[in-house]
Symmetry: C2
Subunit: 274 residues, 2 copies
């Protein structure tokens, strides 16, 4: 049996790698990519079987580049993973809390640990880098520094977790999509993601959403986005409960298609367990 | 006449300062704040008359901390400004393009100039900092470096614009809100921003939005956000055309209030001119 290859947003030690591990356990070889577009490239070319990409975070909102790529490219969403975001203060094995003069991390991680930093490290300089994993990687060559990152990044780069769970908000989740060449068969507890655009806004959006509500289909997310091409033209990203192959979902999608400029089914997939 | 004091997200030279200048011209003293919450504090305490805060960007999406503060605190939206985001490559007056080994900026600015950087500066290291203005400020003490930032930042810090308009996407806009203790009187071309939550999702959201559509009121933005407290409970941020004091808008809001857990009018204000 050939091992599955899964492309994720790297470097090793990111939350995206944690999400990939949560989904694929030991059964896959994980390949870090440095850009989102590269993940689509590798899955489209067949080099990777699946991709794992962040789509939204409770405190940071939607990951717009992921939404754009889902709209522009033709891969399907075949799964979702929800990950509780836990931040840790990570140092070189011999660094003590009182010695820390510099804290390095991704801007969102620094923002999400503001209260801890203000109280425990009020005098330390804060510096931002592209990823939490990169921050941990930089510790080796920096004196009196700490990074905010994942436990697995501390392991990978031979560093030590000095303080666990330093995030201000304990209810901070990131949602990831698993992308592939096909979506998933019905599991009995599914979600479907679509994107569509409508002509003008007053009546049409409501009339499209009614095709879901009149069939008692639960809408679980809606977001409008201006199109890149035309100002005042909008795309709507909508998630609802059910699988596109179930009769009522299929009927709803057919009716919605008639009321929209275009409608693209991004995929149906089993709902993440909380 | 006492000069108006306007608090904005600093440091000096940010796009937020440009938005404040676009709105208040020479008629106000601008006060940079280093955090969004500080802007709310200063306006609430009466120290500042108005605040200017970013709310969404075409390529970056909503600024979630601003949405959270609008929901949690009680200031009103009394205006909006739309700013085309133009990035410039900025250097010390004596630095030439071929000498640049390091490019520093806010992560979104670096992402938005990727094509330019890949083509023109493929070998330069890219480093991220908290703001484009901070990046320009750092140039003074860094050799062979360039920053991506605004023309006004180049002016303020005595640096030189080497290449103008280096952004990949020419249609990149950021929308800013003007916040104050009251919203604005009707101008004839207004927009209203609200936030509400509804009980369960299938029928209720559509039924709330129908109060707008059946009165031919144009919805111009919708976004769902999970609440911080309860999972599976959503807030909806909605913008529509019209002023809350106009009869049909007032009626729509009253009817929507009866169908929602709560509904908060963030404010009515003149629409930004494109």
């Amino acid at each position: 049996v050939k091992e599955q290859l899964v492309a994720y947003l790297g470097p090793p030690g990111t939350f995206c790698e944690e999400a990939a591990r949560k989904r694929f356990r030991e059964g896959a070889l994980l390949k870090p990519c440095m850009e989102l577009g590269e993940i689509w490239d590798r899955v489209e070319s067949g080099e990777a079987d699946f991709g794992v990409v962040p789509v939204e975070n409770t405190t940071g909102g939607s990951v717009i580049p992921s939404l754009d790529l889902l709209f522009e490219r033709d891969l399907k969403v075949c799964g979702e993973v929800e990950l509780r975001i836990r931040h840790n203060l990570i140092v070189k094995p011999d660094t003590r809390l009182v010695e820390i003069r510099l804290v390095v991390s991704h801007p969102q991680a620094i923002a999400q640990c503001k209260r801890f930093l203000d109280e425990q490290l009020p005098l330390a300089t804060r510096r931002t880098v592209e990823s939490t994993a990169k921050a941990v990687q930089m510790l080796a060559e920096t004196e009196y520094a700490a990074a905010i990152g994942t436990e697995s990044a501390a392991d990978i780069y031979g560093m030590k977790v000095l303080v666990k769970d330093i995030q201000d908000n304990p209810r901070n989740f990131t949602r990831f999509f698993i992308i592939g060449t096909r979506d998933s068969p019905p599991s009995g507890s599914d979600r479907t993601s679509i994107v569509f655009s409508v002509a003008h806004l007053p009546g049409t959006l409501v009339s499209v959403l009614e095709e879901l509500s009149k069939r008692r289909i639960n809408l679980t997310k809606i977001e409008s986005r201006p199109t890149r091409q035309t100002p005042w033209e909008y795309l709507f990203y909508v998630d609802f409960e059910g699988h596109r192959s179930e009769k009522i979902c299929h009927q709803a999608l057919e009716s919605m298609r008639k009321k929209t400029f275009f409608l693209k089914v991004l995929g149906s997939y089993p709902k993440a367990r909380p």
